[in-house]
């Protein structure tokens, strides 16, 4: 379906781009939020990414999926915007190995709380790990596609993903514990 609208845009029908915006706006925002950790900046990055996408759509050769190509634009735009706005890259130093992995009591949490919790946890983990998780699980991308979007090497992506899984479990447990302690 994307291909059809891309062809229309390339043929001069700029209104067809609205379909792509509608389809990918939430994912664009989610990816941007993973990297910027700031709602306003993420919105700006999403906006800029769509404009960048529109301007360079003629360069899309269809070798990879449109989504993969577009997510790469978002990642690059996010890094560029953060550099421009001098956003500091601080990696959180959570004691990964100090906390035992526990089974998350998923059943005990109602849907909305789970959503808030997972997003809160994603805000607390480092940018690259948050990005890796969102791309890998949300879009069910393969490792190769993940590497294509982020320019990481295969082994690097594996390590980041592994750390991300571990860290998010720890953060989720921590958040749940706090929640229950407060309750």
């Amino acid at each position: 379906m994307d291909g059809l609208y891309i062809q229309k845009v390339l043929a001069g029908d700029s209104n067809s781009f609205a379909y792509l915006v509608k389809t990918y706006q939430d994912m664009a925002y989610s990816i941007a939020l993973s990297l910027t950790k700031d709602e306003f900046l993420a919105e700006e990055v999403a906006h800029e990414s769509f404009i960048e996408c529109y301007n360079s759509l003629h360069n899309f050769q269809g070798k990879s999926k449109f989504s993969t190509w577009f997510y790469r634009i978002i990642v690059n735009t996010a890094y560029r915007t953060m550099k421009k706005k001098s956003v500091e890259f601080i990696d959180l130093d959570l004691p990964v190995h100090d906390v035992q992995d526990e089974i998350i009591p998923i059943d005990k949490i109602i849907a909305e709380e789970r959503k808030q919790l997972i997003n809160l946890a994603l805000m607390e983990i480092p940018r690259n790990e948050s990005l890796a998780l969102r791309l890998f699980y949300l879009e069910e991308l393969s490792l190769e596609e993940l590497c294509e979007i982020t320019s990481w090497t295969n082994s690097n992506a594996k390590v980041i993903l592994h750390r991300a899984r571990k860290r998010i479990t720890i953060v989720l447990n921590k958040l749940l514990k706090n929640e229950y302690d407060e309750a």
Partner: protein, 128 residues
């Protein structure tokens, strides 16, 4: 790290919840109005591009006529033959050099689409 597959992973259940809805209702409209603005400016830039080509061709013809006319004047004048040749050569070199320089710019303008996009983007950023 033993498996990188999507199956058999507890995060499979949780992570789909991490898709965040964009908090702005009119995001799509904003992007589309920005694109409309880009298209409108592009049309303006294309017009400028067309004028550039027309003026380049006009200057090419005018330059040729001017060189031809100057040569005629020099032939009819009483100055020495060596000086005449020198002047002729000098005016022709200038003419050719100008053609080379400007045709290079014109070809770049015709070919490069990115140039137009960048100009449109730059002017939009300036406005913001």
């Amino acid at each position: 790290m033993n498996t990188m597959k999507h199956e058999e992973d507890p995060l499979n259940e949780l992570m789909p919840l991490s898709k965040v809805k964009i908090p702005v209702d009119n995001f799509e409209d904003r992007v589309m109005s920005h694109i409309k603005l880009i298209e409108a400016k592009k049309a303006g830039v294309y017009k400028t591009k067309l004028y550039s080509i027309i003026f380049f061709l006009a200057a090419l013809i005018f330059g040729f006529m001017l060189t031809h006319w100057l040569t005629h004047i020099m032939v009819a004048s009483n100055i020495s033959a060596t000086f005449k040749q020198l002047l002729q050569l000098f005016s022709q070199i200038i003419y050719v050099a100008l053609i080379v320089v400007f045709s290079n710019k014109i070809f770049a303008l015709i070919k490069t689409r990115r140039y137009l996009n960048e100009r449109v983007q730059a002017s939009h950023n300036q406005e913001i």
